[in-house]
Protein backbone atom coordinates (compact mmCIF):
# COMPACT_ATOMS: atom_id res chain seq x y z
CA UNK A 1 0.00 0.00 0.00
CA UNK A 2 2.80 2.40 0.94
CA UNK A 3 6.34 1.97 -0.30
CA UNK A 4 9.47 3.96 0.45
CA UNK A 5 12.33 3.32 -1.92
CA UNK A 6 15.90 4.29 -1.15
CA UNK A 7 15.11 7.58 0.53
CA UNK A 8 17.98 9.95 1.30
CA UNK A 9 17.34 13.05 3.36
CA UNK A 10 19.69 15.92 4.00
CA UNK A 11 19.49 18.72 6.49
CA UNK A 12 21.77 21.28 4.94
CA UNK A 13 24.99 19.43 4.30
CA UNK A 14 24.17 16.79 6.82
CA UNK A 15 22.65 13.52 5.74
CA UNK A 16 19.95 12.33 8.12
CA UNK A 17 18.55 9.29 6.32
CA UNK A 18 20.47 6.81 4.21
CA UNK A 19 18.70 4.68 1.61
CA UNK A 20 15.60 4.01 3.64
CA UNK A 21 13.31 1.46 2.05
CA UNK A 22 10.23 0.13 3.74
CA UNK A 23 6.74 -1.04 2.92
CA UNK A 24 3.43 -1.04 4.71
CA UNK A 25 0.60 -3.36 3.73
CA UNK A 26 -3.05 -2.55 4.01
CA UNK A 27 -4.44 -3.08 7.49
CA UNK A 28 -1.05 -3.46 9.12
CA UNK A 29 0.22 -1.79 12.24
CA UNK A 30 3.87 -1.09 11.64
CA UNK A 31 6.21 0.22 14.31
CA UNK A 32 9.45 2.06 13.68
CA UNK A 33 11.72 2.08 16.67
CA UNK A 34 15.11 3.54 17.33
CA UNK A 35 16.95 5.84 19.66
CA UNK A 36 16.63 9.60 19.76
CA UNK A 37 18.00 11.22 16.68
CA UNK A 38 18.00 7.99 14.72
CA UNK A 39 15.75 9.52 12.10
CA UNK A 40 12.35 8.03 12.92
CA UNK A 41 10.47 11.32 12.81
CA UNK A 42 12.26 12.24 9.63
CA UNK A 43 10.83 9.20 7.89
CA UNK A 44 7.33 10.11 8.98
CA UNK A 45 7.75 13.72 7.91
CA UNK A 46 8.91 12.52 4.54
CA UNK A 47 5.82 10.40 4.11
CA UNK A 48 3.51 13.24 5.07
CA UNK A 49 5.29 15.71 2.79
CA UNK A 50 6.73 18.01 5.43
CA UNK A 51 10.23 17.16 4.20
CA UNK A 52 11.26 16.49 0.63
CA UNK A 53 13.68 13.66 0.01
CA UNK A 54 16.87 14.30 -1.89
CA UNK A 55 16.76 10.86 -3.52
CA UNK A 56 14.28 8.03 -3.62
CA UNK A 57 10.54 7.82 -3.90
CA UNK A 58 7.41 7.40 -1.84
CA UNK A 59 4.57 5.50 -3.44
CA UNK A 60 1.06 5.34 -2.10
CA UNK A 61 -1.21 2.82 -3.81
CA UNK A 62 1.09 2.80 -6.77
CA UNK A 63 1.26 6.56 -7.21
CA UNK A 64 4.27 8.67 -6.34
CA UNK A 65 3.50 11.16 -3.63
CA UNK A 66 6.95 12.49 -2.82
CA UNK A 67 7.19 16.12 -3.82
CA UNK A 68 3.51 16.77 -3.16
CA UNK A 69 2.67 19.44 -0.60
CA UNK A 70 1.47 18.07 2.75
CA UNK A 71 -2.11 19.20 2.16
CA UNK A 72 -2.32 17.09 -0.99
CA UNK A 73 -0.99 14.06 0.82
CA UNK A 74 -3.58 14.45 3.56
CA UNK A 75 -6.24 14.59 0.90
CA UNK A 76 -4.83 11.47 -0.67
CA UNK A 77 -5.58 9.66 2.59
CA UNK A 78 -2.50 9.79 4.79
CA UNK A 79 -3.01 11.63 8.07
CA UNK A 80 -0.40 12.27 10.66
CA UNK A 81 -0.44 12.70 14.40
CA UNK A 82 2.72 14.75 14.68
CA UNK A 83 5.22 14.78 17.47
CA UNK A 84 4.32 17.68 19.75
CA UNK A 85 0.67 17.36 18.61
CA UNK A 86 0.67 20.67 16.67
CA UNK A 87 -2.85 21.58 17.76
CA UNK A 88 -4.51 24.97 17.34
CA UNK A 89 -4.21 26.15 20.93
CA UNK A 90 -6.69 29.03 20.76
CA UNK A 91 -9.41 26.98 19.13
CA UNK A 92 -11.78 24.81 21.12
CA UNK A 93 -11.46 21.05 21.20
CA UNK A 94 -14.46 20.73 18.96
CA UNK A 95 -13.08 23.21 16.45
CA UNK A 96 -9.74 21.42 16.43
CA UNK A 97 -11.48 18.17 15.64
CA UNK A 98 -13.66 19.75 12.98
CA UNK A 99 -10.62 21.28 11.34
CA UNK A 100 -9.49 17.74 10.63
CA UNK A 101 -12.41 17.21 8.30
CA UNK A 102 -12.98 20.75 7.00
CA UNK A 103 -10.43 20.72 4.23
CA UNK A 104 -10.90 17.15 3.00
CA UNK A 105 -13.86 16.93 0.65
CA UNK A 106 -14.88 13.35 1.30
CA UNK A 107 -14.41 13.67 5.06
CA UNK A 108 -16.41 16.88 5.30
CA UNK A 109 -19.63 15.16 4.34
CA UNK A 110 -19.23 12.67 7.14
CA UNK A 111 -17.87 15.09 9.71
CA UNK A 112 -20.75 14.64 12.12
CA UNK A 113 -20.44 10.88 12.14
CA UNK A 114 -16.67 11.04 12.43
CA UNK A 115 -17.00 13.34 15.38
CA UNK A 116 -19.28 10.90 17.12
CA UNK A 117 -16.81 8.18 16.43
CA UNK A 118 -13.96 10.18 17.93
CA UNK A 119 -16.10 10.87 20.97
CA UNK A 120 -16.73 7.16 21.34
CA UNK A 121 -13.03 6.52 21.14
CA UNK A 122 -12.20 9.29 23.61
CA UNK A 123 -15.31 10.08 25.66
CA UNK A 124 -13.42 12.73 27.59
CA UNK A 125 -13.21 14.89 24.45
CA UNK A 126 -16.97 15.17 24.34
CA UNK A 127 -16.93 16.63 27.84
CA UNK A 128 -14.14 19.04 26.89
CA UNK A 129 -15.69 20.10 23.57
CA UNK A 130 -15.86 23.80 24.40
CA UNK A 131 -12.52 24.09 26.11
CA UNK A 132 -9.56 25.70 24.36
CA UNK A 133 -7.12 23.08 23.19
CA UNK A 134 -4.17 24.94 24.68
CA UNK A 135 -5.56 24.47 28.17
CA UNK A 136 -5.86 20.67 28.02
CA UNK A 137 -3.51 18.26 29.72
CA UNK A 138 -0.87 16.53 27.62
CA UNK A 139 -2.81 13.31 27.35
CA UNK A 140 -6.00 15.01 26.33
CA UNK A 141 -4.11 17.04 23.75
CA UNK A 142 -2.75 13.82 22.33
CA UNK A 143 -6.29 12.51 22.06
CA UNK A 144 -7.32 15.63 20.20
CA UNK A 145 -4.41 15.19 17.84
CA UNK A 146 -5.37 11.60 17.13
CA UNK A 147 -9.01 12.54 16.84
CA UNK A 148 -8.20 15.36 14.44
CA UNK A 149 -6.24 13.00 12.23
CA UNK A 150 -9.09 10.50 12.26
CA UNK A 151 -11.61 13.16 11.27
CA UNK A 152 -9.94 13.21 7.85
CA UNK A 153 -11.00 9.59 7.30
CA UNK A 154 -7.47 8.50 6.52
CA UNK A 155 -6.47 5.20 4.94
CA UNK A 156 -3.14 5.44 6.72
CA UNK A 157 -2.64 6.97 10.15
CA UNK A 158 0.87 7.99 11.07
CA UNK A 159 1.63 8.48 14.74
CA UNK A 160 4.84 10.13 15.85
CA UNK A 161 5.70 9.37 19.47
CA UNK A 162 2.14 9.54 20.74
CA UNK A 163 3.13 8.49 24.26
CA UNK A 164 5.72 11.20 24.67
CA UNK A 165 5.56 12.83 28.08
CA UNK A 166 2.27 11.21 29.04
CA UNK A 167 1.34 9.68 32.34
CA UNK A 168 1.25 5.85 32.28
CA UNK A 169 -2.53 5.68 32.29
CA UNK A 170 -2.72 7.98 29.32
CA UNK A 171 -0.07 6.02 27.48
CA UNK A 172 -2.23 2.97 27.75
CA UNK A 173 -5.24 4.83 26.49
CA UNK A 174 -3.36 6.11 23.49
CA UNK A 175 -2.10 2.68 22.57
CA UNK A 176 -5.54 1.23 23.02
CA UNK A 177 -6.86 3.82 20.62
CA UNK A 178 -4.19 3.03 18.03
CA UNK A 179 -5.10 -0.58 18.27
CA UNK A 180 -8.82 0.07 17.93
CA UNK A 181 -8.36 2.27 14.95
CA UNK A 182 -6.20 -0.36 13.31
CA UNK A 183 -8.77 -3.04 13.92
CA UNK A 184 -11.34 -0.89 12.25
CA UNK A 185 -9.31 -1.11 9.10
CA UNK A 186 -6.99 1.87 9.15
CA UNK A 187 -3.37 1.15 8.45
CA UNK A 188 -1.18 2.55 11.22
CA UNK A 189 2.47 3.51 11.25
CA UNK A 190 3.77 4.11 14.73
CA UNK A 191 7.01 5.64 15.87
CA UNK A 192 7.76 5.12 19.49
CA UNK A 193 10.35 5.27 22.15
CA UNK A 194 8.14 3.08 24.24
CA UNK A 195 9.70 0.10 22.51
CA UNK A 196 8.22 -2.73 24.44
CA UNK A 197 4.64 -1.63 24.18
CA UNK A 198 4.76 -0.65 20.56
CA UNK A 199 6.49 -3.78 19.38
CA UNK A 200 4.02 -5.83 21.30
CA UNK A 201 1.13 -4.33 19.41
CA UNK A 202 2.77 -4.13 16.03
CA UNK A 203 2.39 -6.64 13.25
CA UNK A 204 5.78 -5.71 11.97
CA UNK A 205 8.54 -3.38 12.97
CA UNK A 206 11.67 -1.68 11.70
CA UNK A 207 14.69 -0.76 13.79
CA UNK A 208 16.47 2.42 12.87
CA UNK A 209 19.96 3.43 13.86
CA UNK A 210 21.80 6.51 12.76
CA UNK A 211 19.55 7.07 9.78
CA UNK A 212 19.72 3.50 8.52
CA UNK A 213 17.36 0.59 8.87
CA UNK A 214 19.27 -2.12 10.67
CA UNK A 215 16.57 -4.67 11.30
CA UNK A 216 13.11 -5.69 10.20
CA UNK A 217 10.75 -8.34 11.56
CA UNK A 218 7.49 -9.09 13.27
CA UNK A 219 6.80 -7.34 16.49
CA UNK A 220 7.42 -10.43 18.49
CA UNK A 221 10.73 -11.22 16.83
CA UNK A 222 12.02 -7.76 17.46
CA UNK A 223 10.87 -7.45 21.02
CA UNK A 224 12.78 -10.58 21.90
CA UNK A 225 15.87 -9.62 19.96
CA UNK A 226 18.96 -9.09 22.03
CA UNK A 227 20.30 -6.31 19.89
CA UNK A 228 17.19 -4.26 20.46
CA UNK A 229 17.54 -4.54 24.19
CA UNK A 230 21.15 -3.53 23.96
CA UNK A 231 20.45 -0.55 21.80
CA UNK A 232 17.98 0.88 24.24
CA UNK A 233 19.41 0.00 27.57
CA UNK A 234 23.06 -0.35 26.87
CA UNK A 235 23.07 -3.67 28.70
Amino acid sequence: MLKLKAIDINYGDIQALWEISLRVEEGELVAIVGSNGAGKSTILKTISGLIRPRNGSVEFEGKRIDGLAPDRIVRAGISMVPEGRELFPRMSVRENLEMGATYIGRARAQAARSLEHVHELFPVLAQRAGQLAGTLSGGEQQMVAIGRALMAKPRILIMDEPSLGLAPLMVEEVFRAARTVNREGVTVILVEQNVRQSLKFAHRGYVLENGRIVMEGTGKELSENRHVKEAYLGL
Binding site: G12, D13, I14, S35, N36, G37, G138, E161, S163, L164, G165, A167, P168, V171, E172, F175, R176, R179, T180, E192, Q193, N194, V195, R196, Q197, S198, K200, N210, A231, Y232, L233, G234, L235
Partner: protein, 257 residues
Protein backbone atom coordinates in the same frame (compact mmCIF):
# COMPACT_ATOMS: atom_id res chain seq x y z
CA UNK B 1 34.53 3.47 36.35
CA UNK B 2 34.94 5.30 39.56
CA UNK B 3 32.15 3.86 41.52
CA UNK B 4 34.33 3.35 44.54
CA UNK B 5 36.09 6.66 44.39
CA UNK B 6 36.18 8.52 47.70
CA UNK B 7 33.61 11.25 48.26
CA UNK B 8 34.82 14.47 46.74
CA UNK B 9 34.08 18.11 47.35
CA UNK B 10 30.66 18.98 46.02
CA UNK B 11 30.86 21.46 43.14
CA UNK B 12 27.24 21.73 42.12
CA UNK B 13 24.42 21.28 44.55
CA UNK B 14 20.87 21.36 43.22
CA UNK B 15 18.28 21.58 45.99
CA UNK B 16 14.56 20.96 45.58
CA UNK B 17 14.53 22.74 42.27
CA UNK B 18 11.12 23.50 40.73
CA UNK B 19 10.19 25.24 37.51
CA UNK B 20 6.70 25.75 36.15
CA UNK B 21 5.68 26.81 32.67
CA UNK B 22 2.14 28.02 32.80
CA UNK B 23 0.47 25.36 34.91
CA UNK B 24 2.85 22.57 33.93
CA UNK B 25 5.73 21.62 36.16
CA UNK B 26 8.69 21.02 33.88
CA UNK B 27 10.94 20.31 36.80
CA UNK B 28 9.53 19.36 40.16
CA UNK B 29 11.42 19.18 43.40
CA UNK B 30 14.64 17.81 41.97
CA UNK B 31 17.77 17.54 44.09
CA UNK B 32 21.13 16.14 43.18
CA UNK B 33 24.77 17.06 43.36
CA UNK B 34 27.89 16.83 41.27
CA UNK B 35 31.24 16.39 42.94
CA UNK B 36 34.44 17.93 41.69
CA UNK B 37 35.94 16.13 38.71
CA UNK B 38 32.94 13.88 38.53
CA UNK B 39 31.06 12.97 35.36
CA UNK B 40 27.35 12.82 36.02
CA UNK B 41 24.76 11.97 33.40
CA UNK B 42 21.24 13.28 33.39
CA UNK B 43 19.03 10.79 31.60
CA UNK B 44 15.37 10.21 31.05
CA UNK B 45 12.85 10.01 28.23
CA UNK B 46 12.10 12.97 26.02
CA UNK B 47 10.33 15.71 27.87
CA UNK B 48 11.59 14.57 31.25
CA UNK B 49 12.98 18.00 32.10
CA UNK B 50 16.68 17.49 31.48
CA UNK B 51 17.24 20.51 29.29
CA UNK B 52 15.11 22.60 31.64
CA UNK B 53 17.53 21.75 34.42
CA UNK B 54 20.42 22.86 32.20
CA UNK B 55 18.61 26.10 31.50
CA UNK B 56 18.05 26.63 35.21
CA UNK B 57 21.64 25.93 36.12
CA UNK B 58 23.00 28.19 33.39
CA UNK B 59 20.57 30.98 34.28
CA UNK B 60 18.50 30.99 31.10
CA UNK B 61 15.44 30.37 33.29
CA UNK B 62 14.82 31.48 36.84
CA UNK B 63 13.67 28.71 39.17
CA UNK B 64 10.25 29.04 40.82
CA UNK B 65 11.69 27.56 43.96
CA UNK B 66 14.70 25.68 45.18
CA UNK B 67 18.35 26.56 45.13
CA UNK B 68 21.38 25.97 42.98
CA UNK B 69 24.79 26.33 44.55
CA UNK B 70 28.11 26.34 42.81
CA UNK B 71 31.02 25.72 45.13
CA UNK B 72 28.78 26.64 48.04
CA UNK B 73 27.63 29.95 46.55
CA UNK B 74 24.03 30.29 45.45
CA UNK B 75 23.67 31.06 41.76
CA UNK B 76 19.94 30.56 41.44
CA UNK B 77 18.32 33.49 39.66
CA UNK B 78 21.57 35.12 38.57
CA UNK B 79 21.75 36.28 34.99
CA UNK B 80 23.35 33.86 32.51
CA UNK B 81 26.46 35.94 31.90
CA UNK B 82 27.14 36.19 35.63
CA UNK B 83 26.75 32.46 36.08
CA UNK B 84 29.03 31.92 33.14
CA UNK B 85 31.71 34.06 34.70
CA UNK B 86 31.37 32.12 37.93
CA UNK B 87 32.46 29.07 36.02
CA UNK B 88 29.61 27.32 34.23
CA UNK B 89 30.01 26.55 30.54
CA UNK B 90 27.38 24.85 28.44
CA UNK B 91 26.49 23.55 25.02
CA UNK B 92 23.07 23.54 23.43
CA UNK B 93 21.04 20.56 22.36
CA UNK B 94 20.26 22.21 19.05
CA UNK B 95 23.65 23.42 17.95
CA UNK B 96 23.84 27.18 17.90
CA UNK B 97 27.23 28.34 16.69
CA UNK B 98 27.29 31.97 15.57
CA UNK B 99 26.81 31.53 11.84
CA UNK B 100 28.66 34.63 10.65
CA UNK B 101 31.76 33.90 12.73
CA UNK B 102 34.52 31.49 11.84
CA UNK B 103 35.22 28.51 14.04
CA UNK B 104 38.06 30.35 15.71
CA UNK B 105 35.99 33.47 16.27
CA UNK B 106 33.24 31.41 17.83
CA UNK B 107 35.65 30.01 20.33
CA UNK B 108 37.43 33.32 20.93
CA UNK B 109 34.07 34.83 21.90
CA UNK B 110 33.82 32.38 24.76
CA UNK B 111 37.37 33.07 25.90
CA UNK B 112 36.94 36.84 25.78
CA UNK B 113 33.85 37.30 27.87
CA UNK B 114 33.24 34.18 29.85
CA UNK B 115 35.66 34.68 32.65
CA UNK B 116 37.05 36.92 35.27
CA UNK B 117 39.54 38.54 35.16
CA UNK B 118 39.31 39.39 31.49
CA UNK B 119 42.00 38.23 29.17
CA UNK B 120 43.55 40.11 26.30
CA UNK B 121 42.56 39.50 22.69
CA UNK B 122 45.90 37.87 22.07
CA UNK B 123 45.64 35.45 24.97
CA UNK B 124 42.07 34.64 24.04
CA UNK B 125 43.03 33.87 20.50
CA UNK B 126 45.96 31.74 21.57
CA UNK B 127 43.82 29.73 23.94
CA UNK B 128 41.08 29.38 21.38
CA UNK B 129 43.53 27.90 18.90
CA UNK B 130 44.63 25.43 21.57
CA UNK B 131 41.05 24.48 22.35
CA UNK B 132 40.22 24.01 18.69
CA UNK B 133 43.17 21.64 18.44
CA UNK B 134 42.04 19.84 21.56
CA UNK B 135 38.58 19.15 20.16
CA UNK B 136 39.95 18.33 16.74
CA UNK B 137 39.18 21.47 14.79
CA UNK B 138 42.80 22.52 14.44
CA UNK B 139 42.67 22.56 10.67
CA UNK B 140 39.31 24.29 10.35
CA UNK B 141 39.93 27.50 12.23
CA UNK B 142 38.85 29.78 9.40
CA UNK B 143 35.86 27.73 8.29
CA UNK B 144 32.30 28.88 8.84
CA UNK B 145 29.99 26.64 10.85
CA UNK B 146 27.49 26.11 8.07
CA UNK B 147 30.17 24.39 6.01
CA UNK B 148 30.97 21.89 8.72
CA UNK B 149 29.54 18.49 9.56
CA UNK B 150 27.38 17.83 12.60
CA UNK B 151 30.22 16.40 14.68
CA UNK B 152 32.39 19.39 13.85
CA UNK B 153 29.61 21.78 14.79
CA UNK B 154 29.30 19.96 18.07
CA UNK B 155 33.02 20.36 18.53
CA UNK B 156 32.61 24.11 18.13
CA UNK B 157 29.97 24.06 20.81
CA UNK B 158 32.23 22.15 23.15
CA UNK B 159 35.29 24.27 22.45
CA UNK B 160 33.28 27.44 22.91
CA UNK B 161 31.94 26.19 26.23
CA UNK B 162 35.44 25.18 27.31
CA UNK B 163 36.77 28.58 26.36
CA UNK B 164 35.05 30.15 29.34
CA UNK B 165 37.30 27.88 31.49
CA UNK B 166 34.36 26.34 33.27
CA UNK B 167 34.60 24.68 36.63
CA UNK B 168 31.43 22.91 35.57
CA UNK B 169 30.74 21.90 32.00
CA UNK B 170 27.17 21.17 30.92
CA UNK B 171 27.01 19.04 27.77
CA UNK B 172 23.58 18.72 26.19
CA UNK B 173 23.38 15.68 23.90
CA UNK B 174 26.73 16.16 22.31
CA UNK B 175 26.80 12.56 21.13
CA UNK B 176 23.41 12.19 19.52
CA UNK B 177 23.41 11.88 15.78
CA UNK B 178 27.03 10.74 15.66
CA UNK B 179 28.21 7.52 14.03
CA UNK B 180 29.70 4.90 16.33
CA UNK B 181 33.25 5.92 15.41
CA UNK B 182 32.46 9.56 16.01
CA UNK B 183 30.83 8.64 19.28
CA UNK B 184 33.94 6.84 20.39
CA UNK B 185 35.99 9.89 19.56
CA UNK B 186 33.62 12.07 21.51
CA UNK B 187 33.85 9.78 24.51
CA UNK B 188 37.62 9.99 24.40
CA UNK B 189 37.32 13.75 24.27
CA UNK B 190 35.08 13.92 27.32
CA UNK B 191 37.41 11.67 29.27
CA UNK B 192 40.34 13.81 28.21
CA UNK B 193 38.50 16.86 29.48
CA UNK B 194 38.02 15.27 32.83
CA UNK B 195 41.69 14.56 33.02
CA UNK B 196 42.36 18.25 32.56
CA UNK B 197 40.29 18.87 35.67
CA UNK B 198 36.79 19.59 34.43
CA UNK B 199 33.62 18.55 36.15
CA UNK B 200 30.98 17.43 33.70
CA UNK B 201 27.23 17.17 33.82
CA UNK B 202 25.85 15.71 30.65
CA UNK B 203 22.53 14.93 29.07
CA UNK B 204 22.75 11.91 26.88
CA UNK B 205 20.55 9.47 25.07
CA UNK B 206 23.16 7.13 23.73
CA UNK B 207 23.19 4.60 26.52
CA UNK B 208 26.53 3.21 25.56
CA UNK B 209 28.03 6.59 26.35
CA UNK B 210 26.16 7.00 29.58
CA UNK B 211 27.20 3.60 30.77
CA UNK B 212 30.75 3.99 29.65
CA UNK B 213 31.77 7.26 31.13
CA UNK B 214 29.44 8.29 33.92
CA UNK B 215 30.44 8.11 37.54
CA UNK B 216 26.83 8.52 38.49
CA UNK B 217 23.52 8.77 36.70
CA UNK B 218 20.49 10.86 37.62
CA UNK B 219 17.26 9.64 36.03
CA UNK B 220 14.40 12.04 35.44
CA UNK B 221 10.87 11.28 34.39
CA UNK B 222 8.05 13.78 34.10
CA UNK B 223 10.20 16.43 35.72
CA UNK B 224 10.95 14.37 38.79
CA UNK B 225 13.98 12.44 39.84
CA UNK B 226 13.11 8.78 39.87
CA UNK B 227 16.48 7.25 40.42
CA UNK B 228 20.10 8.06 41.06
CA UNK B 229 23.25 6.06 41.40
CA UNK B 230 26.04 4.30 39.55
CA UNK B 231 25.01 3.35 36.01
CA UNK B 232 24.96 -0.39 36.49
CA UNK B 233 22.60 -0.09 39.42
CA UNK B 234 20.33 2.42 37.76
CA UNK B 235 19.62 0.27 34.71
CA UNK B 236 18.24 -2.44 36.91
CA UNK B 237 15.87 -0.13 38.68
CA UNK B 238 12.36 -1.18 37.63
CA UNK B 239 11.19 2.41 37.68
CA UNK B 240 13.86 3.28 35.15
CA UNK B 241 13.06 0.36 32.93
CA UNK B 242 9.43 1.33 32.99
CA UNK B 243 10.18 4.91 32.17
CA UNK B 244 12.35 3.90 29.25
CA UNK B 245 10.69 0.85 27.82
CA UNK B 246 7.14 1.55 28.81
CA UNK B 247 5.08 -0.13 31.41
CA UNK B 248 5.42 -3.85 31.50
CA UNK B 249 2.08 -5.40 31.01
CA UNK B 250 1.69 -8.57 32.98
CA UNK B 251 1.80 -11.72 30.98
CA UNK B 252 1.14 -11.81 27.33
CA UNK B 253 -2.52 -10.89 27.59
CA UNK B 254 -3.74 -8.16 25.43
CA UNK B 255 -4.74 -5.08 27.28
CA UNK B 256 -8.41 -4.50 27.76
CA UNK B 257 -9.91 -2.58 24.90
Amino acid sequence: MRKDAPAKMTLLQVDRLTKHFGGLAAVHDVSFHVGEREIVSLIGPNGAGKTTIFNLVSGVYRPNSGDIRLGGESIAGLRPFDICRKGVGRTFQIMQPFPKMTVLENVVTGALFGRKPKVSMKTAEGEAVELCRLVGLGDKLKAFPKNLTVPDQKRIEIARALAVRPKLLLLDEVMSGLTPTETDEAIRLVLKLRETGATILLIEHVMKVVMGISDRVVVLHHGEKISEGPPFLVVDDPKVIEAYLGKMVDGEDEPAC
